[in-house]
């Protein structure tokens, strides 16, 4: 919606000596604007807990996807720009260099199924078990 005009590096108004050679990656920008810089309290109080949750999610994302998944955090997987897994799963025709990928994908899928089954069982026996809610 809003086009971040100023966000496009290499824009002619930047002195050449400061122009970055490539547009910085999202990971590089996020680790700076979310984690560094001066912290002062604004009037709009973003719930600190929420921000920390977000930052933790991003950290996990940057630190270890597997660990994030173990904790049930997988929001980026639904975003096609971030993950090949967000695309419809292609059926491996077997063999070739897809062998390992299909193994790890199968592994991930099985883990997800186990987690889902486990959650179902818990929901069935104890409906007050929902932990994260606003």
């Amino acid at each position: 919606m809003t086009e971040p005009v100023a966000g496009r590096l290499g824009s002619p108004r930047l002195p050449a000596s400061y122009e970055q050679r490539d547009a910085p990656s999202l990971a590089d920008i996020l680790e700076r604007v979310l984690d560094k810089g001066v912290v002062i309290a604004g009037d709009i109080r973003i719930n600190l807990l929420d921000i920390e949750l977000l930052t933790i999610k991003l950290r996990l994302l940057v630190a270890s996807v597997d660990k994030a998944k173990e904790m049930g955090i997988d929001w980026w997987e639904h975003d096609p720009s971030l993950s090949s897994r967000a695309r419809p799963p292609a059926v491996e025709s077997g063999g070739g260099d897809g062998a390992e990928r299909s193994l790890s994908e199968e592994n991930a899928r099985l883990r997800a199924e186990i987690a889902a089954l486990r959650a179902q069982t818990q929901n069935g026996s104890d409906r007050s078990d929902r932990s994260v809610d606003g």
Partner: protein
């Protein structure tokens, strides 16, 4: 003053109120495509922009932060303003999503934190930040994964063949990792000759890092260096020279950045996680 009901004030950075700063912000548009301006009080100024209250109120902002594509737009917009002001020589980037009710509140904040901001500005004047990331070279890890290599394992069960191939790959990966560690140490030495400060960021792994870096291997060092602006190119050249002829290692130098990683009051050195 801005209408409280319709607009709030998004703050990007703290800097000195100079004519150059006024000219620089006049050419900038911010996170809501708004005209950026300066709010001044004495010897400090903040780069700010009026943003729609309904998009930057608590609930709307929170929703935006939780949605990666919109977070990206916000982050890049914020960064764009900060980056455009960095060449002025001294700028303190504020953390993402610092929003005030009106410009008076920004002035009040500047006055309250003056004793903190002035020394920080002083310290960072004339410095830039460089990012240096050291990766193992992905080529070393994936080359061994060619299916032909598994021919000798054809007598093995699929599980054992998989493990054998994995073992071979791991050996290659370990060599690459060792080489990258040695290179990272060399770079830190070289960089330390020029840089006045260093901050270690967490190594980047996972989908987000890959989305930016294409064929990245494993990121084993992710450091930020504060470098005198007049030696910025010198720094970059030395870091890159320190990596020449190193097989299995890839180094990425990013920047120059506004001094995000150093715009904090000096804190105890963040301990690095042991592997």
């Amino acid at each position: 003053m801005t209408d409280i009901a319709q607009h709030m004030v998004y703050a990007y950075a703290v800097l000195r109120p100079t004519p150059e700063a006024a000219r620089a912000v006049a050419a900038l548009r911010g996170v809501a495509d708004e005209q950026v301006g300066l709010v001044e009080t004495g010897d400090l100024a903040a780069a700010v922009g009026p943003v729609p209250a309904r998009e930057f109120g608590e609930a709307a902002l929170k929703a935006r932060l939780e949605e990666l594509p919109r977070l990206e737009t916000l982050a890049r917009g914020h960064h764009g303003v900060v980056a455009a002001l960095a060449p002025l020589g001294a700028v303190l980037p504020l953390r993402l999503a610092t929003v005030y009710r009106d410009e008076d509140r920004v002035r009040q904040m500047l006055q309250e934190r003056r004793d903190e901001f002035l020394p920080l500005l002083e310290r960072l004047t004339g410095h830039v930040e460089w990012g240096v990331k050291v990766y193992t070279d992905a080529g070393g890890e994936t080359a061994a994964a060619a299916p032909e290599d598994d021919a000798g394992d054809s007598g093995l069960s699929p599980g054992r063949a998989y493990l054998a191939a994995r073992r071979r790959r791991r050996r290659g990966a370990e060599d690459a990792w060792q080489a990258a560690v040695r290179t990272a140490a060399r770079i830190a030495d070289e960089a330390g000759e020029i840089a006045v400060e260093r901050v270690a960021h967490r190594p980047q792994r996972g989908e987000l890092a890959k989305a930016g870096g294409a064929e990245a291997g494993e990121n084993i060092a992710n450091d930020a260096y504060l470098v005198p602006a007049d030696r910025a190119e010198d720094f970059r050249a030395r870091v890159l020279a320190a990596t020449e002829g190193q097989e299995g290692v890839r180094v990425e130098v990013t920047g120059p950045w506004a001094p995000y990683s150093f715009a904090l009051p000096p804190a105890p050195v963040a301990h690095r996680e042991s592997a």
